[in-house]
């Protein structure tokens, strides 16, 4: 390399400077939320604003738990999201396995249609979906919402799992069959252990989509005790004069589970795999 050391350090510090700017842009809003959530109320509106609270307080959290149905919303979100993950995987794992291991008429067409439905945005199907759910008597039930998330997540889930199953050589399975295992045994003992990281990652993407969804829950649920977190918080925000400390505490708790699972999937995301799982 013919570059002089001075040029190197100049471009090097430019990179560091840009990286710092980026860090502030991406991370600071979360930091500010966290700071507001643990500040005493009078400090929230202080001029000049303070980043580091003079004392850490749980007052905002106490109001959130005491005066709102936050815990109910949280439990609803957990129930619905886990049910959506279970149902989605129940349908998509066998389907993806089938699409990579068997040859039958229409196989490629199914894959294409799956990719096509993946491009649908919720606003384009929400109206007929709503009418359908009401017709089935599932409006204002968590089951209706779980069905919505399953339908919405199934295309990408099948697509991701198919890509994952394709990386597992058929020969391994054949070897197990030759050794006298039946197909079910071969799948359970040979294929699933190898596919497990992909199944877990796909499940996490489904969880995040269900956990974050606003529009389906808004349209399909109206009873307060059934609401999930995104609509619960949106309604809390709209209900009266905004209690910023309490709202920020709520926001912090809502992203906590997402942050928890993010640790597991971020390596997939950075490698570029699985990004298609998160449409938004």
């Amino acid at each position: 390399m013919s570059r002089s050391p001075r040029l190197w350090s100049a471009s090097g510090s430019a990179v560091i400077l840009c990286a710092l700017g980026l860090l502030v842009f991406s991370a600071f809003p979360f930091l500010w939320m966290a700071s507001t959530a643990v500040k005493p109320p009078q400090e929230i509106f202080a001029t000049p604003p303070v980043l580091w609270p003079s004392r850490f307080t749980l007052e905002n959290l106490e109001r959130l738990f005491g005066e709102t149905k936050f815990l109910t919303y949280f439990r609803n979100s957990l129930t619905v999201s886990f049910a959506a993950v279970g149902l989605t995987l129940l349908f998509s794992v066998p389907a993806a396995y089938s699409l990579t291991r068997f040859r039958f008429p229409g196989r490629e067409r199914i894959a294409t249609v799956v990719l096509f439905t993946y491009m649908f945005a919720p606003i384009m199907i929400i109206i007929p979906f709503y009418v359908l759910v009401r017709f089935l008597g599932l409006a204002n039930t968590h089951f209706g919402l779980v069905l919505a998330y399953t339908a919405f997540c199934l295309p990408f889930s099948m697509w991701m799992l198919r890509a994952f199953f394709q990386t597992i050589p058929v020969e391994i399975e054949q070897a197990a069959l030759v050794d006298g295992a039946n197909r079910l045994q071969a799948v359970i003992h040979v294929v699933l252990p190898l596919a497990l990281p992909g199944v877990v990652a796909t499940g996490i993407f489904t969880f995040i989509l269900a956990w974050n969804d606003y529009i389906f829950a808004r349209v399909l649920l109206s009873r307060d005790e059934l609401k999930t977190l995104p609509i619960g918080i949106a309604d809390l925000y709209n209900a009266s004069v905004v209690d910023w400390g309490m709202i920020m505490a709520a926001g912090l708790l809502v992203i906590a589970p997402v942050l928890g699972v993010y640790v597991f999937i971020q390596k997939y995301l950075i490698a570029g795999w699985g990004a298609e799982g998160l449409k938004g």
Partner: protein, 310 residues
């Protein structure tokens, strides 16, 4: 897995040498895939077709009354000035956010492809806003941009950039605020796609270009950009579809402000007609128009792309 491009998952691999698995088991294969296909047909494809049917009806959103009205919903929409205004706002919103997301996303991906301490952590942090619930992204920014107590107004006033606090949720600025929140939330998608592709560009190409005397800008233009063309094509397509149909970010930004009409984009207006005015037929007709416009734009885009490739 790392070399698999994000947005173009691998094509089906022919299962060579697996003869005995296929033929006798075709029935089992169909059996395994059928539940998923049925569920998709019932809960996605059927609603889409049913939505087209509803668009020909004068239908209340809750009550069962309905009557067939041919194309009069469409005729009414095309005469509705608010429809066209919402199309314009939606176009402003989606075009500006797409443009900014792609520009920022490519730049950030190039940065995150450099070597510097803390790179992996920064990569994880940059992607994070993309996976938080929209409602959280919106309330964080509503707090930051609060006209009275917001940190942003405080900082720009302290820096002497403005004399008066800016009313970020007021009519003059709400579109800007909405674009800012959306870009912050969605540019990581571009980063993910581009960064994955950057990691697969062979280093030799850069070395050869450097030997030939190309500077950094030339290396970007003649080595990096041609390699990114494919992934950018897919990213632009997906981001356009999703920004054009984006509902929750503008809708949640609208809440609790007086300036909601200035960011009432087409998806928001569709939602309002259906769930605030209870006109399911009108709402469906707008959704169908949205879908048709997107399908037309996407096929035109694909054709241009193919000609470019040929």
């Amino acid at each position: 897995m790392a070399d698999q491009s994000v947005l173009s998952p691998s094509l089906p691999v022919p299962l060579s040498g697996a003869g005995r698995l296929h033929l006798s088991d075709a029935a089992l294969g169909i059996l395994l895939v059928t539940p998923a296909v049925l569920l998709l047909a019932l809960l996605t494809l059927y609603p889409v077709l049913y939505g087209v049917w509803i668009s020909f009806l004068n239908k209340h959103s809750f009550f069962p009354e309905q009557s067939f009205v041919w194309l009069s919903n469409y005729a009414a929409i095309l005469r509705d000035p608010e429809f066209w205004a919402s199309v314009r706002r939606g176009a402003v919103y989606s075009l500006s956010t797409i443009f900014l997301q792609i520009g920022l996303g490519v730049g950030v991906a190039l940065l995150l492809n450099q070597h510097f301490p803390g790179r992996n952590i920064l990569r994880a942090i940059v992607i994070f806003p993309y996976i938080v619930p929209t409602v959280v992204a919106v309330i964080i920014w509503k707090w930051l941009l609060n006209s009275q107590f917001g940190l942003v107004n405080h900082l720009i006033e302290a820096a002497g950039l403005v004399d008066q606090p800016i009313s970020w949720m007021g009519r003059d600025w709400i579109m800007v605020s909405l674009v800012l929140v959306s870009v912050w939330q969605f540019f990581p998608f571009v980063v993910i796609g581009v960064l994955a592709r950057l990691q697969t560009i062979p280093q030799e190409l850069y070395e050869a270009a450097t030997v030939d005397g190309a500077n950094a800008a030339q290396r970007f233009l003649y080595v990096t950009l041609p390699q990114l063309k494919g992934v950018l094509f897919v990213i632009v397509l997906l981001r356009s579809i999703w920004m054009f149909t984006k509902f929750d970010t503008p809708w949640l930004m609208i809440q609790g402000g007086g300036a909601e009409v200035y960011i009432r984009t087409l998806p928001v207006y569709t939602y309002l007609r259906t769930f605030a005015y209870y006109e399911a037929g009108m709402g469906s007709a707008m959704a169908v128009l949205m879908f048709a416009a997107l399908a037309a734009a996407a096929s035109l885009y694909l054709r241009i792309w193919r000609e470019e490739e040929a």
